[in-house]
Amino acid sequence: MAFDSTIFFDQLFSEAYLRGALLSLSLAIASQIGAVIIGFGLALGKSSKFAVVRSLCTSYIWFFRAVPALLLLLLMWNGLPQLSPVFQKEWYSPFLAAFIGLALAEGAFMAEIIRSALMSVDDGQQLAARALGMTRGQVLFKVVLPQATRVALPPTGNEFIGMVKYTSLASVISLQELLTTAQMGVAVTFRYAEYYAAATVYYLVIVSVLMLLQNRVERRFTWTSTPTRRRFPALSRAGAAGSPKQTTTQEKVPA
């Protein structure tokens, strides 16, 4: 069976795939937001003055970094309802189970990213903010967090892209996201290549858009009055300092 491009394009522009892609994307967005909130709490908790809070956070991170996301989703979807009838009700959807599972797991990874970002902010910043009379909350949200965000953005973008792909794991708990959509088509037609290729295109498009978005957001954090496209200020400054020297020596040689 050769690759049938008619089937491929039919599927690519079908409503089922579009729905699947939207579901994948919304699950990824929701889970990542949940993970950022959990991670922020854990990051603060890990620097708490109470030893109990610190070790609770450390245990959380240890547990959710160790358990595979796939296993976690199965636990959420099949394990929880077995333990408590609450989760057997209608409201507990595959989407909700996947959201909880992915947010919990990713939260452990975000905790480390956010913690290191918070630690990267110079100590003088909180001193200056407190000297102005800011309270602890104001210091955190007005001064430290905006600066930590810049540091956390690139790795968080990375994690988010990972999250988009992790949503495909939810196919095992019957969530009709992209991969499930493809597999359902495959099960009826046995057209593996066409159906999987259509899903691949969607993942490529989603991740490309996210990368562009990340670029734009990062540019907002350059903190200069003139828009600049320099990606590595340290490197370009070294280059700028080096180049005039070169021209002067070059000028001297012919003279």
């Binding site: 001193l127 102005l132 309270t135 600066q147 903190w223």
Partner: protein, 255 residues
């Protein structure tokens, strides 16, 4: 009727890990006076600014601002360190300028100066902006009002930092080696701003290595050594006829 001195420091003690940094320091600063604190590094002169600015609690001793004890609550008998919220409010009366400027890198010069007004004093944005621009003009930086800290020279950054503290209308300004991190050719512009401030009647405590500044601007000069004040006197007597051998040795090293 005699008014109390603006700042009165009584018997201040501070130790870090059982190493005594301040061993009972007393001094007073009258309204409109400029007090210069000199001394070798590690002598405790910067530590005392941190205590007065309420960024760190003293182990014991009293700090009176305008005759009122600050940094503590309770009566004469049960004195306790004040909670952070109270400290934050009290800090607004004291302006602090740091050796490393500590401007907020994510805000332009204007918004750096505005930050205390809007966040702490809840001044409306428009009004805060006007006050900030006025203050930037006072330190000679109205042309750089929209530059970010990374786009300013060290001297310009320090002048923004002074404006940021001044705009809060503090009763007292503290300077912790304000020119020590600057290239030599940028020192003058910062000292000029400080001299103007002194002649406008601002009460100031300045930790510095600038002997000429201490001599020409200070109303009184104090020498710190090993956590204690060795000698304090008006500048002409301090520099031309010091009483203590330690002062003579220190001055000999500085010239």
């Amino acid at each position: 009727m005699k008014t109390p001195p603006l700042l009165e420091v009584q018997n201040l003690h501070k130790s870090y890990n059982n190493v005594e940094v301040l061993g009972g320091v007393d001094f007073t600063v009258r309204r409109g006076q400029v007090k210069a604190l000199l001394g070798p590094s590690g002598s405790g002169k910067s530590t005392i600014l941190r205590m007065i600015s309420l960024l760190e609690p003293a182990d014991s001793g009293t700090i009176l601002l305008d005759g009122e004890p600050i940094g503590v609550i309770g009566g004469r008998v049960d004195v306790r360190p004040a909670p952070e919220r109270v400290l934050a409010r009290q800090r607004t009366a004291i302006g602090m300028v740091f050796q490393k400027f500590n401007l907020f890198p994510h805000l332009d010069a204007t918004r750096n100066v505005m930050s205390g007004l809007t966040t702490v004093l809840k001044v409306p944005k428009k009004e805060a902006r006007e006050q900030a621009l006025e203050m930037l003009d006072r330190v000679g930086l109205s042309a750089r009002a929209h530059a970010y800290p990374a786009e300013l020279s060290g001297g310009q950054q320090q002048r923004v930092a002074i404006a940021r503290a001044l705009v809060m209308k503090p009763k007292l300004m503290l300077f912790d080696e304000p020119t020590s991190a600057l290239d030599p050719e940028l020192v003058r512009e910062v000292l000029d701003v400080m001299e103007k401030l002194a002649s406008d009647g601002m009460t100031m405590v300045v930790v510095t290595h600038e002997m000429r500044f201490a001599r020409s601007v200070a109303s009184e000069v104090a020498l710190f050594d090993s956590g204690q004040i060795v000698e304090q006197a008006p500048p002409d007597r301090f520099f031309d006829a010091p009483e203590h051998e330690r002062t003579r040795r220190f001055l000999a090293h500085m010239h």
